[in-house]
């Protein structure tokens, strides 16, 4: 076994499993997973169309409860229901990470979900986060970036999260007839330009943000938000187009003019943003940073960006440019695992096929990376200083024995260590494991060893 095996399984996959034979041709194993379609989302995931309907009913219930005390109790119950949906979705996400036949694709799902990050502070987002990943991210990770972008920016979870659902054109029919002032909210527009596509400091200005925000007005959620929903044009997954909110007229973004064709106006802008060289460079840098090194080699990013532009944002072509690059297969473990990566690789490494008694949401919160809750639309940092910190390290050491205790009796760290770190297990770690006082301590040591904390 060569260093390639460890790189394929640990750097690009979600971590080796002791009960799976290592791939005889590691580079081939990685590329073959970029096949036609990603594995579907967990069957337990409710779709967002149904969830949005439930949310709209809940909002209606609240409106019809005048008593403040009752209202508070109702709101609490609704929040609890949303929390249960979130917990179930996080638990299902971890389960899928343990059992997936295509761990490289699963890693890409996690990467893109963090790129188009939600944060579940609002109850609507809490309820919809699992559906967002299943519907807007997962189906598109082996497709075109443009399709993922359009799915993301019209998904109810994103519309709630970045305040788009209520944004109203100042010259829209609704604003003109309204008693209280209604207007734009530019939150989503700004993050589309800054985080989702072009990247910050690429030459767009406040005017472009405002124009995109105007074009996006009308994009809302079925049965929710301001205005009469009776004439909504239903979109997929509970999204809706409500013409009464839309700012009429042509828009100009980054020097290009877009005629007012209702929802097609913002879609045309998003397509142009998706095909911009700035977007290509921004996204290729982020991908290379995730898969290769905190500071990726400029030549590698250049090659990926060229592949992006030539293939018009065909993601498998871009991944292939990275995965066939010599830089990607350099030995060593340059990436410090995030808490999510460390948890999934630990449970896989212990041979688990289900989280068992472990509550994934609490576990990840204790480790400092609650799932779908980075606290900002920039998502979680992909840089070592964010995770390689004193307190964060202690948390892993505290939790390692609890994870190790989940392993089947008889799991021997001395046997599995060379399987999990093929060709890359250090003598120091092997010795420490061999000298441990108990099997559980040995497993815990393996999980917090310098070799296993990095990929």
């Amino acid at each position: 076994m060569t260093a390639d095996t460890s790189i394929a399984l640990n750097r690009f996959g979600l971590g080796a499993r002791p009960d799976e034979a290592p791939p005889p041709q590691p580079r081939q194993w990685v590329l073959e997973q970029l096949g036609p379609a990603p594995t579907p989302a967990p069957a337990s995931q409710e779709d967002s169309a149904a969830l949005v309907q439930a949310l709209a009913q809940q909002a209606e219930q609240l409106r019809q409860t005048p008593d403040p005390g009752e209202k508070m109790l109702l709101r609490e119950a609704q929040r609890k229901a949303a929390r249960q949906r979130y917990d179930a979705a996080v638990q299902a996400r971890l389960l899928q990470a343990l059992t997936t036949p295509t761990p490289v694709v699963e890693r890409l799902v996690h990467f893109w979900a963090n790129h188009f990050a939600l944060s579940v502070e609002k109850p609507e987002v809490l309820a919809l986060a699992g559906a967002f990943e299943a519907e807007a991210i997962r189906p598109h990770v082996l497709g075109r970036f443009e399709d993922m972008l359009l799915a993301v920016e019209t998904h109810p979870a994103m519309l709630f999260y970045l305040d788009q659902a209520g944004s109203t054109g100042p010259g829209s029919p609704l604003a003109r007839g309204a008693k209280r002032p209604r207007g734009l909210n530019e939150n989503l527009a700004r993050e589309i330009l800054e985080l989702h596509t072009l990247g910050v400091r690429t030459g767009y200005g406040q005017r472009d943000v405002t124009e995109l925000a105007r074009a996006l007005t009308g994009q809302t959620v079925q049965g929710m938000g301001p205005g009469n929903p009776n004439r909504d044009l239903a979109g997929p997954g509970g999204g809706a187009w409500r013409a009464a909110l839309h700012e009429p007229g042509p828009r100009e973004v980054l020097g290009r003019s877009y005629a007012d064709h209702g929802p097609q106006q913002s879609a045309a802008i998003l397509r142009d943003l998706a095909s911009s060289p700035d977007t290509a460079r921004h996204l290729c840098t982020r991908l290379a940073r995730h898969l290769v090194a905190d500071t990726p080699q400029p030549a590698l990013v250049d090659r990926m960006a060229t592949a992006w532009m030539r293939s018009r944002g065909d993601l498998p072509t871009v991944y292939q440019a990275l995965l066939t690059a010599p830089e990607a297969w350099e030995p060593g473990a340059p990436k410090f695992k995030t808490p999510w990566e460390w948890t999934t690789s630990s449970l896989r490494g212990l041979g688990l096929h289900a989280p068992g008694k472990l509550q994934a949401p609490n576990l990840l919160t204790q480790l400092g990376q609650p799932v779908w809750r980075p606290g900002s639309p920039a998502g979680y940092d992909d840089l070592a200083p964010r995770w390689a910190a004193p307190e964060a390290l202690v948390r892993r050491v505290e939790l390692a024995p609890r994870l190790a205790a989940q392993a089947q009796a008889g799991t021997d760290a001395r046997q599995i260590a060379p399987l999990l770190l093929p060709g890359s297990l250090s003598d120091a770690t092997a010795q420490a494991i061999a000298r441990a006082e108990s099997p559980t301590t040995a497993l815990a040591l393996l999980l917090v060893s310098p070799d296993f904390l990095r990929r």
Binding site: N185, A389, E391, R395, P401
Partner: protein
Amino acid sequence: MAQTSRRRFIAQGASLTGLLAWGTPQAAPTSAAADARFVFIIQRGAADGLHTLVPYGDPAYARLRGELAVPVEQATRLDSLFALHPALTQVATMYTQGEALLVHAVASPYRERSHFDGQNVLETGGSQPYQMRDGWLNRLLGLLPQRPRAIALAPTVPVALRGDSKVLSYAPSNLRAPPDDLLLRVQQLYRSDAQLDALWTTALQTRGMASSEVTKQDPASLGTLAASFLARDDGPRIAMLETEGWDTHSGQAGRMASQLKGLDALLGALRTGLGDTWARTTVLVATEFGRSAAANGTGGTDHGTGAVALLLGGRVQGGRVLADWPGLDTPALLDGRDLRPTLGLDALIARAAAESFGLDPERLGRQLFARGAVAQPLREPLLRG
């Protein structure tokens, strides 16, 4: 139960390593500066200064904010122009007692409206995002002759504290402590790994100082926890705390009330917890930028420029508002939409940190910041000697 085992972990960390042997008594402090404490509290998400220190006396305020305007009869009126948001009750008390200096229309050199770039400029002290790699608070640490330690009350070290000088970090945990045997073996294993060895050593040092009573993470507990470190004679002299949730694009009235209540509880707990040490403490509260002067269409405000900063503590020459008020008339607004900044945040930081530790403000400004503080230094004293 968890607390008992936590103490055991601390004790074990000490006896295993002798790392806590730093407790050599220090020379008695000769002046306030030699024994000063400095706390930086960052408000992530662009806190709305116009909703914190309300310019109710500016005729344009009510028009711009509409329903979002803070009713002045509920706020604490400070003078004919400014009133303090009603949730800031402990800050109002500090103001009355001359321990709170409120600074308005202040901003870092950053003039775009990205949170993440804005926070990077605020924390690194660069004039451009990502121009500097380390944080100004870490550079300050390296410049102090006392060589004090600094601590981040967070599971990871924020950018302002990252850099060449080693810093501590701590966040309360309610996890069960691992067996001592594992800790010993982990320590041995990390000896051969420079990065992990340094992190582990720092982690054990910090745990030895933490108040074992605090395991909660609400604002008041965070203030108490920070105070438990800072009040010690052998503890850190500089601390950084993070607050989040200030990005109020919608539902701002309720959200700001609860955010400010949390901040107020944190500051109050910090003051109570510090006891006599409060007299030697300076607390700076600042955000990456302010918010749009006008309310937006969804009961909130969008990203803006000029903001509010607070300077609190026993040494602060408080009981006043420091502002060269630019006004909220449309022509006075920056880009026709934001409160125009008239005071440099880096100049404020440089002056506050310099006076706190007995250094020359202009020189420190040049050492900590890329440009701004030098461009327009603040000449007005902020602290008592």
